[in-house]
Subunit: 463 residues, 2 copies
Amino acid sequence: MTRLVAPRGQHADRGAVMPLAEFHDWWEERARVGRFAVERIPFSALHSWHFDTITGNLAHTSGRFFTVEGLQVRDGGIDTWSQPIINQPEIGILGIVVKEFGGVLHCLMQAKMEPGNANTLQLSPTVQATRSNYTQVHRGNRTRYLEHFVGAGRGQVVVDVLQSEQGAWFWHKRNRNIVVQVTGDVEPHEDYCWLTLAQIRELMRIDNLVNMDARTVLSCMPFDLPGSTDAEAGTGAGDEFRDALVRSHQVRSGGVSSAGAILSWFTEAKTRCDWTARLIPLGDVADWKRTDEQIADREDRHFRIIAVSVQAATREVPGWNQPLLHPRGEGHAVFAVRPIDGVLHVLVQARAEFGNMDLVEMAPTVHLLPGAAAAGDVEPFGSAVLASAGARSRFDTLLSEEGGRFYHALTRYQIVEVGADVPTEVPPNYCWMTVRQIMDLMRHGHYLNIEARSLLACLHSLC
Amino acid sequence: MTRLVAPRGQHADRGAVMPLAEFHDWWEERARVGRFAVERIPFSALHSWHFDTITGNLAHTSGRFFTVEGLQVRDGGIDTWSQPIINQPEIGILGIVVKEFGGVLHCLMQAKMEPGNANTLQLSPTVQATRSNYTQVHRGNRTRYLEHFVGAGRGQVVVDVLQSEQGAWFWHKRNRNIVVQVTGDVEPHEDYCWLTLAQIRELMRIDNLVNMDARTVLSCMPFDLPGSTDAEAGTGAGDEFRDALVRSHQVRSGGVSSAGAILSWFTEAKTRCDWTARLIPLGDVADWKRTDEQIADREDRHFRIIAVSVQAATREVPGWNQPLLHPRGEGHAVFAVRPIDGVLHVLVQARAEFGNMDLVEMAPTVHLLPGAAAAGDVEPFGSAVLASAGARSRFDTLLSEEGGRFYHALTRYQIVEVGADVPTEVPPNYCWMTVRQIMDLMRHGHYLNIEARSLLACLHSLC
């Protein structure tokens, strides 16, 4: 929301093999040469996809990729909400290859097209592939750079963790977030380039550029990786916010809550949740209606399932068609942050979403799904955070959710610094944490949800 | 298997408020006065439980407690195995109150009767209650000592983590394993007594005494809790095994694998698993047959679902009836351990079980379910561990699985010290870990499965 053009300052280019000015030229070239056409089609025009005659589920004829099924929610044993949901049980790889050039860590990033991207091309991890992709169920080209992540010749593993994806739209989805460090030569193919973390953090402030898959992998990357911090770069004295943020990455103990108290708080939140959810046949979902154009709820309030046909020059196969989930309007995800005793704290919410494997994960302070009511009405901290007297927006950018499954799914990601009018004592579903405490949890899956991890990557960019 | 009568040595009684000799007298008295009768009944004699006319699921009329449903497994998208499974989505509490007496930590343990226990009475946590129990769905007595675990007046939380239960028999089951330390007066009711950890560890070697719920909570208890170690007690010089075990609890770094390598190994094992599992109606389970007496597989190889009627004097309600899962024969779970560079290492298996929330958890080196073939035939390390030339059995006791859901479910838990013929290089599904590394993972749920946690509690008892 802030800047539509990247700052081309010297700062972020320090030690980089490619200055940002050059990156932008390369990016424009990639967008120009990429031939990629996405067209909405009726379900009846889908080939290799069909609605099962008994269940009504929408599935690929190979039995692979994903299915659109139904989700039934129960509250205390009583059926309540039902909806369509994407079921993709196989675990894909979201991987970034990193390498030091002149003592500065660089990430091998990809200019990748996805059918659901509002702007077609976004900055993506080195590898972003479902298992069906990289085991070549579609009989296309092999996945480039995969050999650095799997098998005997893989690089030194920096982080390797299964993390969840959108609990509102996916059933139990998780992907392998993996970073490997290499020392040998890696030649960037024309769709790839080496960028420093500082450069990627600058690019994070551009609307719809750094994609969701890149953000989640970046959020998992340990901050104390050699060559990854900008501590030596400095920002000049007197930036209290940044100093509090750097301290929040570094402090090993202290903070408003202890590590044990945070784990107990999370256990308590899960125990309190009385919902259960299960898969049901798509045909049994109540109050949603299927036409040949879309599957939508009768009130047109939530998302739609649609179908598209794709023509591509730069993907594993030249063309395909597939279903996509199309949200209505934009989402809004906010982390409220506050320096407490000189250490920046993040206000994290324990939030149940029906498609999460264990329902409750740690979420943004405020999270409004596309089509939801205004924040003040539905979220305990909506008004407090967004209309706080001393609130100061530190990050505010429109970023995309995964373009391989979602069509034009945009979320406004915002980091808001609040004052003492958002107190340290918070309701049971909330907890103040340091960035260090969050990073310790990020070594394990199913703590921070995908929107919170996106915000964490945004927060890193403020260092 | 080793000793049917507890050793009544002085050692374990050090600092204890009740010597073990006195414990055994108290235990015999509890067994004598407890009036508890369990009788098998046909399904048609169950009241408050019924088979749903559409799904065939067996459920309580309140919609609470648990249901017996069907499980369908797919391998690479193709339907394979199906079976009945217990679905109990609500999270119960398994809690132990601890308190220091004369500088020595004591646990408030309960003599508790469960209908499925082979010997009726077993040593249980302070609180062992499903949410339906403690929210009094059955309109019985309130759960004793619950106030120390929930609400404003609860004790100091030592550990508080959701842990899984039997993945072969439960669908996504987890319970809250919680230990709270109190300082105020806690009067033991006649069914409760204070025991030191050293005493409980002695009692662990008696067949079918310390129940599964106690074992899992004890396995989660951090070893460095003040007053919890026996370091000062000593065992005399020259016990190399015990020294290697104590070192394995203490070492913060080193070991055959780093902490990061263990996490990556586990992520890799989950990624490799191509199974998926989902609930289906019990009536749709193939190759299992329901009579009025039982639900069993046609070949009588696996477990049965049966029904029992219970009369009790010491439970929340005086009588009830319920379904139980009745395995055939005994299970066998083994941890292979080996001192490597003077530090005891445990050989952990990444093992998929259909009912686990994310399928793969860390399991014993060898685990044979009741009714399974001999170890050498089905488990990669079966023969190597159990028939290793230098193998030495360090622990070997028959212990019960949860008597509230399982009928006479006995597992032989064994810790076997192996030599260099079980190498440090192991197949991809195995990993050598120190006890400290395992304990660091135990702060989080869904790493160690229930059988591995039982073995961990057994391993603690060898300190």
